[in-house]
Homo-oligomer: 137 residues x 2
């Protein structure tokens, strides 16, 4: 079962707030990077390209944590500890375009790049993170 | 040996930017919280109270990671992977007051609380994090 993000803090995922995604390196060291994110009501969805460090980490260790801090008030934040339920390339290009619209107001993430060239360049992947524990402050 | 924070990104610790501190829970799940921070040229210094989750985590597992994102440009950030070299109560109250001045413009963190009452209430602790790997973007 997924734990829900409380309504009081849902805006921290619905607004274009760049959040911190934490994965774990093979030696146990946390790896933290800023990412775009979408909450679909069940999972937190992040999107990256195959082969990147966070892709390799999430494929090996499903325990990940997301922190979203209100840009208008850093003392208001939500920490979501979760597990990666699914890793899929299906719909991943659509998702990165949706995130580009949300965060950049751009129509496409790869503006002007032909789909065939894009597939050669990199493979987009979506990670579906199921919240297990949510700490809202 | 500590790795240095490059001059190009030092402002992300010198300015009052609330950063993300990541520790590791006993089950391997990352724990991420916003914290105040100081860079003394060698270590990143954070300060909390004894008994809190991040205190317990850092005491058990010295591998921690800090992410500071430029509030004016979320695509400019620095990730510092490090180890806790030292945990000390010495100077910890002075440090939290220094951080309160930096982040809040307040003269004291515990304004108006008598030192004796303060010691009963909680014990402040400083964690000295030695950067091992720095990724500046």
């Amino acid at each position: 079962m997924a734990v829900s993000i409380p309504d009081s803090h849902r805006d921290l995922f619905d607004r274009p707030v760049v959040v911190t995604l934490v994965t774990v390196m093979p030696d146990g060291q946390p790896q933290a990077t800023p990412v775009w994110i979408k909450y679909d009501g069940t999972h937190l969805l992040v999107n990256t390209a195959r082969g990147r460090q966070k892709d390799r980490n999430m494929t090996r260790d499903s325990k990940v944590t997301v922190l979203s801090i209100d840009p208008d008030n850093p003392y208001r934040y939500v920490e979501v500890r979760g597990v990666v339920d699914e890793i899929t390339e299906e719909g991943a290009l659509e998702l990165i375009n949706e995130l580009a619209r949300k965060y950049r107001g751009a129509e496409q993430y790869y503006g002007g790049v032909a789909p065939a060239e894009l597939r050669q360049r990199e493979t987009r992947v979506t990670y579906k993170i199921r919240p297990v524990r949510v700490l809202a402050h």
